[in-house]
């Protein structure tokens, strides 16, 4: 996995609560067997108006956000389905960090697996950032994961918190499966013990 250390990028606003993964990437884009090329499907139904023309109010159709890499949004972002296609589509479009007051759990996990940094900030801070974004043509932020800071162009900066283990994985771009495989002996010992006490858990499913 690619590491995430610092990132400077333009912020795009998505001022909605409860954005679900069915909106982030609608089901017709889930038929792929690949992880890449999913930006076509990103917010596919919200990009367009009922008549099929681009919705001028949606950030993806506004030229000033063309190179945005930080998404600013509201509570419970990523609720609904577990589809990892949601972070894949965001990443494919170029999003590397998401700022919201809260995230749905599976989506939040899935971001870390794809070196997207989801940052939880309190609602007032999020509101302030929305105000900044609407006041300026371009609004850039710099995120420093090691220092756990976000700084504005005016160089004012504030802290965010993050789980230390997840932070290390992102900073070093660690392969989670590789990490677990280093515990092979623990897993084997565990299995041997459990097989003794609860053998029915180890019945093979045969067809």
């Amino acid at each position: 996995m690619e590491a995430f250390t610092t990132h400077t990028g333009q912020v795009a606003p998505l001022d909605r609560v409860d954005v679900d993964t069915d909106q982030i990437i609608p089901k017709q884009y889930l038929k792929t067997i690949h992880r890449t090329g999913l930006k076509e499907g990103l917010f596919a139904d919200w990009r367009k108006l009922a008549d099929g023309s681009p919705d001028p109010d949606f950030f993806m159709n506004q030229p000033q956000y063309a190179d945005a890499s930080i998404l600013l949004t509201r509570d419970n972002f990523g609720c609904g389905s577990s589809r990892e296609h949601a972070p894949w589509a965001l990443l494919d479009y170029g999003i590397r960090a998401i700022l919201a007051p809260s995230f749905a759990e599976i989506f939040y996990n899935n971001c870390f697996q794809n070196s997207i940094l989801p940052i939880v900030l309190d609602s007032q801070e999020i509101q302030r950032l929305f105000d900044h974004v609407s006041a300026a043509d371009r609004f850039e932020l710099t995120i420093d994961l090691a220092a756990q800071t976000i700084s504005t162009p005016q160089k004012s900066s504030f802290q965010f918190s993050i789980d230390p283990f997840r932070k290390q994985c992102l900073l070093q771009g660690l392969d989670a499966i590789g990490l677990t495989l280093r515990r092979e002996k623990d897993i084997a010992d565990y299995e041997a013990r459990r097989k003794q006490n609860t053998p029915w858990l180890f019945q093979d499913l045969c067809s």
Partner: protein, 467 residues
């Protein structure tokens, strides 16, 4: 001895190792796989030169993309076909058991696990699918994961987790005979909100929960994720054991006896503390109907479409306005005056035999209203067969409803079963998100009984006062 919750009693024995910061390597007993969220995981394994650690712990089934009409001709959509063929190929390469689209045991992944006796109390169960919470009905810790984690479980039979918090949701008393587990869970989500369960594992307790059949318990746990909780669970009891006994993949003979002895200990001890407790009174729950674009936007059938101005905070007002706009509903409209075009009875929430029996009891001797199209999609091939043995298919057909092959169907509309733009559907599924059942389609979530009654009358009805 310290008092433990049901969750503690499952989590503890599954900890392989734990770091000082609480990061835990958790052992996974059973892994379910479907065609949509697995191809990239299998491909990742192959690219890294890894093999599944315990192929015998995994069961695969295609369900999301399968046609619900005659399957002998194969799948028309080439992308759907490739996705299913890819699953078959990966399973063959790695020695994973697969129920193919032509196997009578095929069905929705969360329906067939319990049906086969694969889902057992005390287990950890995962699947690349958020409705894995369904399996918690058996007193298992079951939750949905992303595709990277699917790969992780295949390679290591473990997941890296942090211990969640626990929430008790207790439903005291009994619900009206016209209400079902679906109405209970919709009322619960209406009470806690779609993010109310975030960070928690929910245990459902109380008389109304205990008196549910296994089918009802699965419906309840299924929609835990709609309340934000990754997992919901119910302590196993005689109802649970009776359901499991004799199923093909369940333990038998001396293993069965040993297992039941172990399972009888799986309950929350008196005095054990949850991090949060929510209580509802069963008698207060009316048949539920969602009016908006998430499952928390719900009211009793005797209610009205709300006025956005009645909400205090701006975010809720905005979200409600947007939802009513999408749903083409006017504030103040009585729910029973909302006309519908389509009815979908199916999905991992409500496609089990009990759901079909209930729906059939409302269709019996009646006709689907003119202009309404109703579809009944059983959750598995075996349920379909059982329903046909009981003559339920004849009841549906006589009423003018379509009787289909099993699969996810119009819950997600990845196959050919789709709402057309603007169509309004009474659906027994679990998500009423914008476009979920088809772009521009409008979904109202209800119980199977409410869906069947709506099919017959062409609008919602309060089945408590309906002859």
């Amino acid at each position: 001895m310290a008092a433990h919750t049901l969750f503690d009693k499952i989590w503890g024995p599954h900890v392989v190792s734990e770091e000082s910061d609480g990061t835990t390597l958790l052992y996974i007993d059973r892994h379910l796989v479907h065609e949509v969220t697995s191809p990239q995981a299998f491909e990742g394994l192959k690219l890294a030169g890894r093999r599944p650690r315990r192929p015998g712990a995994t069961l695969a089934v295609p369900d999301h993309n399968v046609p619900t009409t005659d399957r002998s001709a194969g799948i028309a959509d080439p992308l759907s076909r490739i996705q299913i063929e890819t699953l078959e190929q990966h399973c063959a390469d790695f020695g994973i058991t697969l129920f193919s689209m032509h196997d009578v045991r095929q069905g929705i992944v969360h329906v067939i696990g319990p049906e086969q006796g694969l889902t057992l109390p005390g287990m950890t169960i995962v699947c690349g699918d958020s409705h894995t919470s369904t399996h918690g009905a058996f007193g298992a810790l079951a939750f949905g994961i992303g595709t990277s984690e699917v790969e992780h479980v295949l390679a290591t039979q473990c997941l890296i987790q942090k211990r969640p918090q626990t929430m008790e949701i207790r439903v005291d008393g009994l619900v009206s005979p016209h209400c079902s587990a679906k109405d209970m869970i919709l009322a619960i989500i209406g009470a806690i909100g779609t993010a109310g369960g975030t960070g928690y594992v929910v245990e459902y307790t109380g008389e109304a929960v205990r008196s549910l059949s296994m089918e009802g318990r699965m419906t309840l746990c299924n929609m835990s994720i709609e309340g934000g909780a990754r997992a919901g669970m119910i302590a196993p009891d005689e109802t649970t054991f009776a359901y499991i006994k004799g199923r093909p993949m369940a333990p038998s003979a001396s293993l069965w006896t040993a297992a039941v002895q172990d399972w009888e200990k799986l309950c929350t001890d008196p005095g054990a503390a949850y991090d949060r407790v929510v209580t509802l009174q069963g008698e207060d729950i009316a048949p539920q109907v969602t009016w908006g674009t998430n499952p928390g936007m719900v009211t009793g059938v005797d209610g009205k479409v709300p006025d956005p101005r009645s909400f205090a905070d701006e975010e809720t007002r905005d979200a409600t306005t947007r939802a009513l706009d999408y749903m083409a509903l006017t504030p103040g409209t009585p729910i029973v005056e909302i006309p519908i075009d389509r009815v979908f009875i199916g999905s991992c929430t409500n496609s089990r035999i009990e759901d079909l029996r209930l729906a059939a009891s409302y269709f019996k001797g009646r006709k689907v209203a003119s202009g309404v199209q109703a579809m009944v999609v059983p959750g598995s091939g075996l349920i379909k067969k059982q329903a046909e043995d009981e003559g339920l298919d004849a009841v549906f057909r006589a009423a003018g409803a379509e009787w289909r092959e099993s699969g996810c169907s119009m819950c997600l509309a990845m196959n050919a079963d789709v709402l057309r733009p603007g169509e309004r559907c009474a659906s027994t599924s679990n998500r009423n998100f914008e476009g979920r059942q088809g772009k521009g389609g409008r979904t109202h979530l209800v119980s199977p009984a409410m869906a069947a009654a709506a099919a017959v009358t062409g609008h919602f009805v309060d089945i408590r006062h309906w002859a």
